[in-house]
Amino acid sequence: MELDKIEDKYLKMGEANQIVFSETLQALAETDKDIIAVTSDSRGSGKLVPFAQKYPKQIVEVGIAEQNLVGVAAGLASAGKKSFAVSPACFLSARALEQIKNDVCYSDNPVTLVGISAGVSYGALGTTHHSLHDFAALRAINNITIVAPADNFETEQAVKLAAKHDKPVYLRFGKKAMPFLSEENQTFQFGKGRVVKEGKDITLIATGETVYPAWLAAKRLEEDHNIKATVVSMHTVKPLDVKLLENLASNNSPIVTVEEHMINGGLGEACASHLFQKGFTNPFKIIGIPDEYTITGSQVEIFNHYGISEVGLYETCKTLLNLKI
């Protein structure tokens, strides 16, 4: 099954997370005049055209100038505005990295950095437009919360929390429509992973748009082999939910991490680093993009190529479980 052929029998289909971002921001802006969107000629891809039409005084356009984007957002935040700096994740997190480090994080200006079309959302546009370094780059910076929501629920909650948060936040959104995962009894907090499926045999810890293929793989493991997998949306990559991580590892079952990011410096390495230092020795596999420039293709094709897919993760889990046996 392909990611873009979602099985409605399992889950309710939603919108692309970045559409939910813009709708949520617009709803917040209606009652809060301090909400300011700052964009780098990216209101189209950021789905902010309706926002701009409705609240023309609450959008600041800086043109294609990411350093200035982040600096201006820092100045606005410093003056009491709730600024959301919106730009493709690849440029925001690389081109403006020093502004993120100094003007936002070091100066403690509570900007929300919104990386849109993240990961390999731009697919065949290639490496220049992929953001597979952003977790690694931003994890190395103090005083920032890094969040990659899995579904529309997490996205809406994350945007609302970011607007209230008094510290820098990085939100990472993609272009692909996402299904709602685990609709009952939901809670969302920065820094607290969300268990979307409970099991005991193996754990899949995923983030952002990779939670869904992890969920599908878990479903298939159960149907084919009666293997019960836990699936976690580790939406907050930093600070990591180490308590949950230790709980998940405590039964010694295998752990697979999944991310739309290079393996270097991403979620998987963060989890491995913590667990290893705490003495855990669970079988462990990191699924992400290896240290190479990605192959050409759509997001789905790239996911499939690197095993970030229902089938790929299903096979990875089976291999790990066999190794354990």
Binding site: V60, G71, Q99
Partner: protein
């Protein structure tokens, strides 16, 4: 309000002070700090609406020192204005001190953490847009070094400041025409900065950056043109006030020996005695 003579005496005092703390810390950006002392003196004693005892007043004027490496000039000025006890500067650059080699918000009176170049102006553009949105009348000032002008972020910000008609924004160029490697014209030519800024939609004034009255007239009589951001080219001398440091690039971040320190103080004392 200080008299003009007291203002001149203050500049000499600030120069002596920054040399003292650089000398004791055995670190500092001496030449560029000396070149911007007069601007800081005028800003903090004649221009900025800031209150050391209520620094976070939302209606205060903002000053962001983009040329953050010349923090010694800022620190002695802030101490002199009562933002913190001058004796705090005895810890300058020492283990666990808040008084590090670049501006930090841990120090009362510092608006933003700076040091990396090309950062001050974009932040001030954001501050100036926010002031306009809120119909606030306070002004936003930033001090740029000429060595940081080539940073692309400045030119991004120059564009947006005029686009948003930020006539509440004042960028002051401490134009001493030298940077760490040598003269600007040899490293990256800044000769036509006035024409460039005017083309970018800024209103530009040029002043003698060591003439306190000229500085005050420019800084307190804006906007120069309604709807245009204000750019002040303050022509200065790197190492101003100490003869052997003036225009000598080795004093970009040189620390004086005991003999050089005494000589510098004696020159400044002589200059002080001649002030009328």
């Amino acid at each position: 309000m200080m008299t003009n003579k007291e203002m001149k005496l203050k500049s000499v005092y600030l120069r002596k002070n920054l040399l003292k703390y650089i000398y004791h810390a055995k670190a500092g950006h001496t030449g560029g700090s000396l070149s911007c002392v007069d601007t800081l003196n005028v800003l903090y004693n004649r221009v900025l609406n800031v209150d050391p005892n209520n620094f976070k007043n939302p209606n205060r004027d903002r000053y962001v020192q983009s040329k953050g490496h010349c923090v010694e000039a800022l620190f002695v000025t802030l101490a002199d204005r009562g933002f913190f006890p001058e004796s705090d500067l005895e810890t300058l650059c020492r283990y666990q001190s808040h008084y590090i080699g670049h501006p930090t918000k841990k120090v009362n009176g510092v608006e933003q953490n700076t040091g990396a170049l090309g950062h001050g102006l974009p932040i001030c553009v954001g501050e100036a847009i926010a002031a306009k949105l809120d119909n606030k009348s306070h002004r936003i000032f930033t001090l740029l070094g000429d060595g940081e002008l080539p940073e692309g972020s400045n030119w991004e910000a120059f564009l947006s400041a005029s686009h948003y008609k930020l006539d509440n924004l004042y960028a002051i160029l401490d134009y001493n025409k030298q940077q760490i490697t040598g003269d600007n014209k040899d490293v990256m030519n800044t000769d036509s900065v006035r024409e460039k800024l005017e083309t970018f939609g800024w209103a530009v004034k040029e002043v003698d950056g060591h003439n306190l009255e000229d500085l005050e007239n420019a800084l307190n009589n804006g906007p120069f043109e309604a709807g245009k951001p204000n750019f002040i080219i303050a022509h200065t001398i790197k190492g101003k006030g100490v003869s052997y440091m003036e225009r000598n690039i080795k004093w970009h971040h040189g620390v004086p020996s005991p003999e050089q320190y005494e000589l510098a103080l004696s020159e400044l004392n002589q200059a002080e005695a001649l002030i009328e």
